[in-house]
Symmetry: C2
Subunit: 212 residues, 2 copies
Amino acid sequence: MPQITSSYHHGDLHAALVGAGLALARKGGVDAVGVRDVTRQAGVSPAAAYRHFEDHRALVLAVALAAQDHLAEAIVARIATETADAPGDRDAAVARLRGVGLGYIDFALAEPGWFELALLTFDPGGEAPSVMVAEQIPAPFLLLLQALDACLDAGILTAAQREHAEWPCWSAVHGFADIATRGPLRGQDPAVLAALGADVVERIIAGVRADR
Amino acid sequence: MPQITSSYHHGDLHAALVGAGLALARKGGVDAVGVRDVTRQAGVSPAAAYRHFEDHRALVLAVALAAQDHLAEAIVARIATETADAPGDRDAAVARLRGVGLGYIDFALAEPGWFELALLTFDPGGEAPSVMVAEQIPAPFLLLLQALDACLDAGILTAAQREHAEWPCWSAVHGFADIATRGPLRGQDPAVLAALGADVVERIIAGVRADR
DNA sequence: ACGCTATGTTCACAGTGTTTACATCGACAA
DNA sequence: TTGTCGATGTAAACACTGTGAACATAGCGT
């Protein structure tokens, strides 16, 4: 177990910096996580960050990955409550799909700062995104894919309906989260936002289930 | 007509700065429009910008408004082509709605830099968004509202379906544009993106028209 | 012709990300 | 135990940014 040296050498600065970034991002969003602020919060000199991160971008991205984990947790939590009382396979499948969307929106409304960070995860920033390797598919997106596959298995969706269904689903839910977080709906009554979000989720599910 | 003085006093620096910002934002997005870059491009000293804009934010917002105009133009253009060969009132109404969505996506894919700017328009940045005054409803959003109302009038949508329908529609289209622009779909083949975008539009329209 | 005001310039300041040279700790080997 | 060395943190500097204050110029109205 790493002793707390309390002088010069930090126990695990990498983790400490990510933690500080997470705390700063919670209020203030992505702009609040700067090299100087993070290192200041960790009680360390600015240049120390460069021993653990290539870049400012790299630091932000590490924090973003942590935020993404929290997003995934929020989604699985909401899936659990939605599928709690869903009797049949068919009901459970759509409840699960609904849970993904509502969990995503939940998180965006509850933690807008972290949500903003989590979005950076989907943008490698590099040159060629090309093909997404299975290993690096973001957990939240994976949960959506699995929920849609479950709908296919349960007979909720036909094969034709399942095809590419992840994009309309993700688009609607992510779009609403963005609108409610940074867009014209920002600052509105949380209850109203939750109701509108639920409406969006229901309607996109209906759209995906519609005849083709 | 303002003579080109070519020394010290610029003809219309306000417009020139917005133009320069537009040019810079086209490649480079919102980050490229900084006070120093814009003034440099306009051939003027950095502090000159502060005679015409309160703030860096204010400058960016002015450029964003210009970008938003271009977005609105792209939408009306696409509406025109979609409704060109739509015989009945009912077909014309859904064609118009489809045109709004496709135009939005068109613009995002064709001019990602400007699109990023245009989004800032919907975010006043100030404290209380509260109620949107009719006068300051962004033109693109207004086009959506009008298209939905036309669907109501044409009997495509019931009153219950029309209610709050702007949010699922905007969420889906905006969400897809964001995903295709900054998200995991960025850099993908334009033809594929256009097809996926069209699919998203069709499915959200189906979702809005579904039984309630 | 004389100001007056609008507009643009210069200089300075605080803050940022980042690099370079130096200091210190912890561990491993003779 | 002692010496050395790599890993880790510090200090100082650089280039850059947005922004404000003091100054300069141009053109308009009296």
